[in-house]
């Protein structure tokens, strides 16, 4: 790739060819990425847009349908849609606020303070991310339902004159906040880890207190990470169905996703209106992206430079017990309580628990639900399928995300802005609708994707491109250009620099972004619903089948099994990332 000036009598034509290649290569590179994105993103989105503009199914329709804006106008004029949009905005704003506060504090606690048990908190704090939204809401329905929720049963046993009701707007905000805090945590923790502590040291020497340092130096420095960590959960929350379905529907609180679900699930299904409604989500997301770019414009957020440093740890004194208590309270809400609820539900024959005494009747417990789960031939098939899909998604998605984020954030190639925008698009389309878009787009292609795990994996690669690109870009943006320039000055080419400098530096980021992809692929439900066939059923779909079949015990047992498998995978990948870090040192 690297071309040096011809030595002495090298043929002139070779030089011309080489320099022509050097000129053309970047364009070919951008073109290649755009072609991939066109296949993965633009074509399905185009199908969706066509669906929103017409009154027939893009595949099964006669092709004679008229194009019009009537779907959009009907959607915008519908008071039910306006109500659902308002509810979505309120719930997701509230949820994001909680997620940012909790996630940021969490990152700071584990990375920069001497709070006890940090290692444990760090691992356990990520656990809520592994819980599929439907499972989280299901577990919190068991805990926080107004009449027989376990929390209310416990309150009345203890004589506490309080009661909670998670079938409410406040309940949903709380659950969103708890379960999406790990998103914020992921973005901000790596930024904090890679931050040069000299500024903080300077503040400390000048007598500035730890909390003031936090708000005037640390947080402003990691603003891009915080902004990404704010934008992404907000947009992801907008597209989540499981939580409002389980907690909002009993209270008749409608949000955009449950409204869209109704449009496509009730009969007759109306995909055209669903596609038009999802355009509202796309618009809101686009607005968020533009806002983020405005805020970030012209600022530098480089925190990793060539200087060597060790992240500084702040001695909190007695405050460390307060931060520990905060972390433990979070673990209690995000992990321990819902796990207890799932354990009870999976081991108990029936979930009728009128008082605390009923919890301790041993005769009410059995292994029956687990036996039933493991006797089901679909269970193991779905586990194997899911791991295959997750692995393919993580590898293809990770490599593609690296290629895109490197091109967007570290080069000046023309067309990189377009890459950025196109790769952000999928985040805006709710999974339920995206599944339909993919089947519309890909079923007719002569690649025979349909009926294989590849159609699921490719759909997930596309769907989670924004998540993986954003999570990699935070690692990339923090690496100072000096390092690359130094490498190039030493005569190393672009690819060589990527291999020798960039890849080792972002490897932890790349591994964590691949793990994220793996987790997201395993959790993903909405877009799988149309893409699997009997051979390729993934765990999430089988879980929904159990849930919709009304078998609470088996649903709870499978939720726990799924979560345990994910935790095992993450444990392994953390070990892998650590040993890579040690190895490269």
């Amino acid at each position: 790739m690297e071309v040096t000036a011809p030595k002495s009598a090298a043929p002139y034509s070779d030089y011309r060819l080489a320099s022509a290649f050097k000129l053309a290569a970047p364009r070919l590179w951008i073109a290649l990425l755009l072609v991939i994105l066109a296949f993965l993103v633009l074509y399905p989105v185009a199908m969706l847009t066509y669906g929103a503009l017409t009154n027939e199914d893009p595949i099964t329709g006669s092709g004679q349908g008229t194009l019009s804006l009537s779907n959009f106008l009907a959607v915008i004029g519908d008071p039910a849609v306006r109500n659902a949009t308002w509810n979505s905005l309120v719930i997701c704003t509230g949820g994001t606020a909680i997620a940012v506060v909790v996630g940021l504090l969490f990152a700071w606690i584990t990375v920069r303070t001497n709070t006890p048990m940090r290692r444990f908190i760090e691992i356990a704090g990520m656990l809520p991310l592994f819980v599929p939204p439907l499972v989280a809401a299901f577990a919190w329905g068991l805990l926080g339902s107004p009449r027989t929720g376990l929390i209310n049963v416990a309150f009345s046993f203890l004589g506490v004159p309080l009661s909670v009701n998670f079938y409410s707007t406040a309940g949903m905000i709380f659950i969103f906040g708890i379960y999406y805090a790990p998103y914020v945590y992921m973005f901000t923790a790596s930024a904090l880890k890679n931050m040069d502590p000299s500024l903080e040291e300077a503040a400390e020497i000048s007598g500035v207190g730890p909390f003031r340092t936090l708000f005037t130096i640390v947080f402003p420095l990691i603003t891009p990470a915080i902004l990404s960590g704010t934008l992404l959960p907000f947009v992801v929350m907008l597209g989540i169905y499981g939580i409002p379905a389980a907690l909002g529907t009993p209270a008749q609180i409608s949000v955009l996703t449950t409204y869209i679900y109704g449009l496509i699930s009730w009969s007759p299904p109306n995909y055209n209106a669903a596609a038009a409604t999802s355009v509202i989500l796309i618009a809101v997301t686009a607005l968020c992206v533009v806002l983020q770019q405005r805020v970030m414009k012209g600022r530098s957020y480089v925190t990793v430079s060539g200087k060597s440093f060790r992240p500084k740890q702040l001695d909190l004194g007695n405050w460390k017990w307060a931060t520990l208590a905060f972390a433990l309270a979070y673990l209690m809400l995000g992990v321990i309580l819902p796990t207890i609820a799932l354990l009870i539900a999976s081991f108990r024959k029936f979930l009728f628990i009128p008082d605390v005494g009923a919890l301790f009747q041993l005769s009410a417990y059995s292994l029956a639900h687990y036996e039933q789960l493991f006797a089901n031939p679909l269970t193991w098939r779905s586990v194997v399928n899911t791991f295959e899909i997750g692995l393919v998604t993580a590898i293809i998605g990770g490599v593609l995300a690296f290629a895109i984020s490197y091109t967007v954030y570290r080069t000046n190639l023309a067309g990189r802005r377009l890459l950025d925008i196109v790769s952000t698009l999928p985040v805006a389309i709710p999974g339920l609708v995206v599944g339909v878009a993919y089947i519309w787009a890909w079923i007719g292609l002569p690649l025979n994707l349909y009926g294989t795990i590849w159609i699921l994996a490719l759909a997930f690669v596309a769907r989670f491109l924004p998540d993986s690109v954003k999570s990699l870009s935070t690692s990339l943006m923090q690496i100072h250009k000096d390092l690359e320039e130094a490498s190039q000055v030493c005569g190393v080419g672009v690819l060589g620099t990527i291999r020798q400098i960039i890849v080792p530096l972002v490897m932890p980021g790349l591994i964590s972004s691949m793990s994220l992809l793996f987790i997201l692929a395993i959790r993903e439900l909405g877009s799988s619903l149309f893409l699997y066939v009997s051979d390729t059923i993934p765990m999430a779909v089988l879980l929904l089948d159990f849930y919709e079949g009304g078998n609470v015990g088996v649903t709870a047992a499978f939720s726990l099994v799924q979560t345990l498998l994910l935790v095992a995978v993450i444990g392994l990948s953390t070990v892998a990332a650590r040993s890579f870090a040690t190895f490269s040192k």
Binding site: I59, T60, T148, P269, K349, F350, L351, F352, D535, L542
Partner: protein, 341 residues
């Protein structure tokens, strides 16, 4: 001696013939030995269904007791999602189903091209009312009954009008009318048989609305709601297994919804598919659904689920034309009354 021997021989022969005729009759009911042999050769079939996955797996287990070497692969989805999948697969020439069992007859119109000519051997035993769509048969029939948590309200409602009693105010659970074919039938039944204002009156008694049958059944078990209208096949097995649930069969009638099941033209395993349909629609298959899973049947020989008394239960089938014609307008009204969007 000779006559005795021939007498003995003829008895043995006639017993043998009788026995063979018995199995032959049974085989004839399922389509005959040739079909069975051909189905065995195919060895598997793919079924698309809206039935609950574990319930269908139980039926397959019963089928496999007779035909252990035919594997049934299931793709399960609620009616409208299934219809969308089928329509899309169909148009791309990639339909992988051999047998389709649609819960909602209203959704069949868009995919009727998928089905091949088919009728079960016992077609004549089915009432005319369920033969309105050519080639499609009521493999599964769902019915809505009343259920209550016996630990909270020992004396539950015994008819639909009881749901309006003040003692149940705020304790009634319902499923949204548009969740599927059977919930729509139930709403239609209530309006036509219990009075034009029944929906309003029931809404006035403070109801909690669930998006589908299973969260309602789970809410009943947990006591989140005390009484409710639920699918018999989700609450009867729960009660049988010991959940604190009691089921009653309301005297005004039980709204039932027959599915529409058929063999596909694209079937790769047409014989196995046909055999599974024949078995499902036979008295044996229908009994497995009614007695084993707590469902209903439109085949008179299949009887009623446990707890329902023959002669005391009135099954209510919607008029197939009206089922479609008033649907959208009435659902819109229902949604307004129950504040569902």
């Amino acid at each position: 001696m000779k006559s005795f021997a021939s007498y003995k021989a003829s008895i043995t022969a006639s017993v043998l013939i009788l026995a063979m005729a018995g199995t032959a009759a049974a085989q004839e009911e399922l389509g005959g030995q040739t079909l069975i042999d051909a189905a065995r050769k195919e060895g598997k079939l793919v079924l698309y269904t809206s039935n609950q996955i574990e319930a269908e797996q139980e039926l397959v287990k019963e089928f496999n007791k007779r035909f252990p070497d035919i594997r049934v692969e299931i793709v399960r989805a609620p009616g409208s999602r299934l219809a969308t999948r089928i329509a899309t697969e169909l148009s791309a020439n990639q339909l992988s189903a051999d047998v389709i069992d649609m819960s909602d007859r209203g959704l069949v119109d868009g995919i009727k091209d998928a089905f091949a000519d088919y009728a079960p051997p016992n077609a004549a035993d089915y009432p005319e009312a369920v033969k309105s769509i050519p080639n499609l048969w009521p493999k599964s029939t769902w019915g809505f009954v009343l259920a209550h948590n016996a630990a909270i309200v020992p004396e539950g409602p015994s008819n639909w009008a009881d749901l309006l009693k003040p003692e149940y105010k705020g304790k009634v659970g319902l499923v949204v009318a548009n969740s599927g074919g059977s919930t729509w039938t139930t709403a239609m039944f209530q309006r036509k048989e219990l009075g034009d204002d029944f929906w309003q009156k029931l809404a006035g008694n403070g109801v909690t609305v669930y998006p589908s049958g299973s969260p309602l059944a789970s809410a009943l078990v947990r006591g989140e709601v005390a009484v409710g209208a639920a699918q018999s096949n989700s609450v009867i097995p729960l009660a049988r297994d010991g959940a604190p649930i009691s089921v009653s069969f309301p005297q005004e009638g039980i709204p039932i919804t027959p599915s529409a099941a058929g063999l596909t033209k694209a079937a790769r395993n047409p014989n196995a598919g046909k055999l599974y349909l024949n078995w499902s629609l036979s008295a044996e298959g229908q009994e497995a659904w009614v007695k084993g899973q707590g469902g209903f049947s439109t085949l008179p020989q299949a009887g009623l689920p446990d707890g329902a008394q023959e002669g005391k239960v009135k099954l209510w089938l919607p008029d197939p034309v009206e089922y479609q014609s008033v649907r959208n307008a009435w659902i819109a009204e229902w949604n307004k009354i129950y504040n569902v969007q």
